[in-house]
Symmetry: D2
Subunit: 379 residues, 4 copies
Amino acid sequence: MKIRYAMVGGDLGAFIGEIHRKAINLADDVKLVSGCFSRDYNKNKQTGEHYFIDASRIYKDYKTMALEEAKKEDRPDFIVIVTPNNTHYSIAKIFMLNGFNIVCEKPLCFTVLEALELEKIAKENNILFGVTYTYTGYSMVKYMQQLIKDDKIGNILQVYAEYPQDWLISALNNEISGPGLEIWRMNKEFSGITNAVGDIGTHIEQTVKYVTGLKIKRLLAIVNRFGYDLDLNANILVEYNNGVIGNYWCSQIALGHPNGFKIRVYGNKGSLTWFQETPDYLEFANADGIKSKLIRGASYVYGNCLNVNKTPKGHPEGYHEAFANIYKTYVKALRKQKNNQTLLPEDLDFPNITDGVEGVKFIHAVIKSDKDDSVWINL
Amino acid sequence: MKIRYAMVGGDLGAFIGEIHRKAINLADDVKLVSGCFSRDYNKNKQTGEHYFIDASRIYKDYKTMALEEAKKEDRPDFIVIVTPNNTHYSIAKIFMLNGFNIVCEKPLCFTVLEALELEKIAKENNILFGVTYTYTGYSMVKYMQQLIKDDKIGNILQVYAEYPQDWLISALNNEISGPGLEIWRMNKEFSGITNAVGDIGTHIEQTVKYVTGLKIKRLLAIVNRFGYDLDLNANILVEYNNGVIGNYWCSQIALGHPNGFKIRVYGNKGSLTWFQETPDYLEFANADGIKSKLIRGASYVYGNCLNVNKTPKGHPEGYHEAFANIYKTYVKALRKQKNNQTLLPEDLDFPNITDGVEGVKFIHAVIKSDKDDSVWINL
Amino acid sequence: MKIRYAMVGGDLGAFIGEIHRKAINLADDVKLVSGCFSRDYNKNKQTGEHYFIDASRIYKDYKTMALEEAKKEDRPDFIVIVTPNNTHYSIAKIFMLNGFNIVCEKPLCFTVLEALELEKIAKENNILFGVTYTYTGYSMVKYMQQLIKDDKIGNILQVYAEYPQDWLISALNNEISGPGLEIWRMNKEFSGITNAVGDIGTHIEQTVKYVTGLKIKRLLAIVNRFGYDLDLNANILVEYNNGVIGNYWCSQIALGHPNGFKIRVYGNKGSLTWFQETPDYLEFANADGIKSKLIRGASYVYGNCLNVNKTPKGHPEGYHEAFANIYKTYVKALRKQKNNQTLLPEDLDFPNITDGVEGVKFIHAVIKSDKDDSVWINL
Amino acid sequence: MKIRYAMVGGDLGAFIGEIHRKAINLADDVKLVSGCFSRDYNKNKQTGEHYFIDASRIYKDYKTMALEEAKKEDRPDFIVIVTPNNTHYSIAKIFMLNGFNIVCEKPLCFTVLEALELEKIAKENNILFGVTYTYTGYSMVKYMQQLIKDDKIGNILQVYAEYPQDWLISALNNEISGPGLEIWRMNKEFSGITNAVGDIGTHIEQTVKYVTGLKIKRLLAIVNRFGYDLDLNANILVEYNNGVIGNYWCSQIALGHPNGFKIRVYGNKGSLTWFQETPDYLEFANADGIKSKLIRGASYVYGNCLNVNKTPKGHPEGYHEAFANIYKTYVKALRKQKNNQTLLPEDLDFPNITDGVEGVKFIHAVIKSDKDDSVWINL
C-alpha cells in the first residue's frame, strides 16, 4: 500500500524539516507529494523541485493547500507540520478539519486552550495525530519502558532527569548579534512564554512519562532568564500521583553538554539510566547495586523496541533513527487504519495529541510557578 | 616539634575511628597518647593496649579524661571526637573548657543552639576547631576551589550536586533485622532529626560552599522517609545570596551508586565536575564546551592543593588521603599556633567550627521546609 | 543532475544491502533503477517490486544484467556489489568491462592477482571505484585525519588499534548448529583464507592508513582458529616505512565488545583516540597529557569532515551516516565526472580500488606470517 | 607480637621510600628501628631523627649495618631495600647471609645469574622474601585472580594488557636538561639494560601471571629507544604454555596516560578488565557480553581480597593501600613464621623471590628478542 505525505514548513535550508524527510526515508517507503515549504515563494518552489514534486502541488499558503489537496484523489495520507511554534495551531486545525492525519513538531501549540481545541477536533474527526517528541523513538528508551513495565526495577522511588545543553552560552555572553536560530528561540513572538522549558524541558516531561507511566500531580519551578525575555535554565521539582519525587533540570547554558539529556529512574529492585549522547546503551543497576551496560541489538533485548530495531549491536544508531522509529510506528498504524484494521495499543506507540496537550500544560505550569515566586502548582 | 593527640570514641572495631587514626598517620608524625575509646571498658582497654598507650591514660569516661589530661605536662595538643552524633556537644564542650583543641566528626551536634554555644566557647578560648567534612580534603576539590577563585569558569550560573548511595536499600526492603550500623543511622536517638540529610546531604552543602564560596539565602526541600522515622532520600533546591540556584539531591536508596557524590558548577566561561568515586580527576569544560580531564599530580596543577599532594599523577589517592589532608593542614596550623606564629587564612584551609554551625543550620532548615509541605525557608 | 544506480546482491532480507540502500538515501537523491538481488528468483523479483523497479530490469544473472543495462539510455551511473566475497571479482570485472562505475563491499576479492587485475581494468577504463571500508566514512575519523595532517599530534610514535567483537563466542562454544550468517563467515568457500582478519582486521589496516597515511613495510601475525578452519582472533605487529610500530588486535570472541573498534595514535605533541561505539567523539590528549573530548558538530571542528557533517553536536550519528558519507562523497565525485569537471584529490575522499588491493595484500600477508610460525613478512 | 623493620635507601626526599613507610603504617603496627637511608650522611642522619630512630642505629654503609644489626637482641624482623636497582643484589645478599628477611623493590636485580643466586640464598636460609610488584596488592586484582581461579570466565582465550604512561615525553622532546629522576631511569648504570620494560613492562608480566597463573613459553618484542640508550616504548607478544596469546604494550611516551596500566583477560565464558587509575572497579563481561562494574567493598565480593579490604565500597583506595596490602600479608606471614606456625599457600599471597627471578628473566628475553630483529625467544 502506497503512503503519501505533504509538508508545511521545512524548506531546503531548514534543519528540522530535513530531519523529518530523512527519518521518513529511513522508516518506510513513503512519498512526498505536495508542500508549502516556505513563506518565501522562491525557497518554496526550489524545495518542491528538489524533491521532484509536481509544481502544481506547491502552495503559496497552507490554507489553499489544505483545501486543494483535500480534493485530490491521491491526496496525502498525512501532513507533516514543521513550521515555527506559533503557527502549529492554525495549520493543524485547518488540515484536520479537511480530514488529514497529522504529524506535528513539538510543542503542539502556544496555549492550553488551543491545545484542548486541537485535541477535541482530532478526536471528533478520528485523526491519527503524532507529535514528534523525538526521544521516545530511541530503541533503548522503549526498552527502558519495557523493563519498568515488567517490574525489573520494582517500585519507583525517585526520578532524576536532566537536559543540559550549552549552545546558548554565546547568547548569554552577548556574542550573537545577527539574526539567526538563537534569536528565534529567544523571541517571545515565535517561542511563546518559554525558550528552554518549551524546547528541551518538555522532552524531560514527555520521556519520563513515556518510560515510567507516572503522572505529575504538582510541580514547582525556578527558571533563570539572565536578563533575557525567555528562560535559558530551569530547575523543576515534580511530585507524581503516587507521591514519588522527580527532579528535572534543563539548561541551554551548561558548558560541556552538547545535548546531555539523561534520565535516571530508581526503584527498590534496580535502577535504569539512559543518556541521549550514547543512545544505544542502557545502564541497569540490579538489587546488589551492580551496574550493567545493556546494548541495543543484543540477544537479551526484548519487547516493543524490537519492532524498530535495525542494525546489529555495536553499530551505532542515533538521532535520525529515533525520528525514523516514530515515523515507522506512525506509518504502520496508518496502513492498518487505511486497511480498516483495528489499532491495538501497541500500534500506537508514538506520542499523540493527548501527549501534546499535556506538554503544553506542563510548560504553562512551570512558567506560572516561577512567576509566583516558585510555589507549588497543581496539574 | 612533637604533637600529641587523644581520642574519644573509636574503639578497635569502629569504622570511623580507625579512618581517623590512619589518616593522622598518613598526614604527619603525631602520637596518640590517651583515650576513652568505648563505653565498654574491655574494648576501651584493648584499644589502648593495641596502640601502646599507657594504661593510666585510658579513661572510663570522657569527663574524667578531660580533667585528668588537662593536668598532664605532655597533655594532648588536640582531641579527636568520633563518638555517635548525640554526644559530640557535651564532649566538645568539656574538652574546650579545659583548653583542648578539637577535631570533631560531623555533624557538629544536634541543635542550632548547641552549635552556637560551641562556636562561642571555641572563639572565647581560642580553640583550633576542625570538623571533618572529609570531601573538602581531596586535592582536586581544593583545585576546583582554586580554579573558581581564579575566575576560570567566570560567573557561576548553576550548581548541580548529588550524593546518591545505595547501602540502605536493604533496610528499605526490610532485609535488615538485627542491630547494626544501619539501625544506628535510622534511630532518632543517635541521629537526631535526620538520617540521609545529616549524613550525606550536609557534605553537599559543605563541599559546595568550600569550592564556590556561595552562601545559601533560602532553601526548599522534600525528603522521603518511606515509612521510617528518618529520611532516606531528599531533594533540595537552594538559592544563594547572588540569586544563583543550586540543586541538591542525596539518597541512600539509589541503586547503582556506591558513594556517588558529584558536584558540578557551571559558569559562563567554563564548568567543573568532580566525582568522589574517581577523586583524582577534575573535569573542566571550557568556553567552547570542550571537556578536559585534569588529574591530580600533573604539572599544570597549581595552588593550595599542592600543599597536600603526595603521590605522582596516576597513582590513585582516595578516602584515607582526603582525611589525611584535613589533618595535615590542621596539624601544621597547630604547630604554628604552638610556635606563636600568626595563622594566615591559607593555614586554616580545613572546615572549622563556623562551618560546623552552618552545617547544623542547613540540616534544620531542610527538615523544617519538608515539614511545612516544602515551602521556602530563609537561612 | 539525476544519478541512477543498480545493485547486485542485497535482497530484502540481506543486512548489508539494506544498509547500502538506506545510506544512499541519507546521502543524496539517487534512484535505484535495476538489479540482480538474489540467485533465488522469487526473492529477486520481490525486492525489485518493493523498490518500484520496472520488472524488465530485474535480472536472473549478473552477466545478462551487465550486457543489457549497458545498452540502456538511462543506464545506471554506478553498480553496487553486495554479494558474498567470493563473487566480487567476476561481478566487478564484467561491469567494469561494460563501462560501469562500481561501489564494492570489502574485501575487494579473494587473491592478490585478482585484485591487481581489477585495479588494472579500473584504471584502463577510467572507472570511479569505491570500496566500502565503512569506518573511513565517520566524520570524526575524517577529523582525526585532518588533525594528524595538520601536525596537531606531531610525529607519530606508536599506533595501537583493536577491533574486538564477541558475536562468534557462541560458535566457539558450539551453540550454533543451523546454517546462518556465522556459518557463512567461517566457511572457506565464501570467506576465502580468513574470517576475522578479512572481516574486521582489514578495517584496522584501512582506517589506520586513512587517518595516518602510514604505509606498512612488514608485519608479523599470530591468528587463533580454536579448532575451526578460519581465524577468530589475531594479533598483528606492523612496522611502517618510517620505523614506527603499530599493534593491531582483532577478535570475534572477545566477550564484552559489541563492536569495539578503537584506534589510538600517539605522537610527540599529542595523541588521538577514536572509538567506533561512540563515533561522534574524538579524544585528544595535548602535550601536557590533558585529555579532551572533541565532538562532531562543534564550532571548533574544521576541514573535510564538514563536507559530510549533518546534525548538530550532541545529536548522535552512527553506522548509517558513516556509510552515507562514503556515498555522499562518491556521488558528488560522479556528478563532477559526468559534468567533465576535473576531480581534485579532496573530491576522492573515499576508499578506492588501490585501497582495495592493499586490503587484499594485507590479509594474505597476515595469514602467511601466521602459517610460517609468525615470522616477519615484507609487504 | 612486636614486629620491627629497617630500611636501606629511602631518605626523606625519596619518593618510593616514603611510599613504603606509609604503606607499612597503613598495613600494620610495625616499628622502624634502624636504617642506612642515604649515601649522603646528613640526609641519612636527618631521616633517622625524623623517625625517632636511635642515632646509634643509623649506619654509614649497609655492610656495617647488616653485621651490627645482626647482633642486636631487638634486631629488625625484615629489611626494606629501596635503593637504585643496581645495588639491590649486593644489599639483599649480605642481609640474607646475616639471616634477615627481605622486602625488595622491583626489579630484583640486574642479571639472571644474580637473581638465581639470590633465590638460592633465600631458599637455603629460609628467608621470607617479598618483591613489591605493587599492582598485585590491589584488592580488585586479587578478586580478579579469584574469579579466574573459580572459572567465572572459563578458558582463557586472549590476554591484552597495556601500561602506557606519558611522563617521559618531555625527555623525548628534549626539554629536560638538568639531572633528575628522568635521567636516573634512562641511565644504563642505574637502570641496567632497560628503562620502560624494566620499570613498567615487568608489572604487566607479573600482574598477568598473578591473576591468570599463565606461564610464558616464548615471547617476541620490539622496543623503541627514539635515540636514547634505553627503551621508552615496547610491544611484546607472548605465547603461554597452553598456546594462548598475550599482547603487552608499555610506554612512557604515550600522551594522555598518567599511569594507564590496564589488564584484560578474555575467556570463553566471560572477560575481566582492571584499570589501575580506577583500581576499586573490576569490569566483568558475562557470556551474553553484558558488561558489569564490580566494586571493592560490595557485598558480593568474596575470597582472598577480603583479607586486605579496608574501607566500605565507594570510598576510594589507591596506591598507598595496594602497597599496604602487600605488607599486610607479608607481616602477617612473618608473625606466623616467628610463631613457628606453618605457612599455608594463602599466607604467601605476595610476590616472592621466584617472581623476582622470573621478572629478571622476562626483561632479558624482551631485550634479547628486540636485539635479534624481533624474533621469538623461548623462556
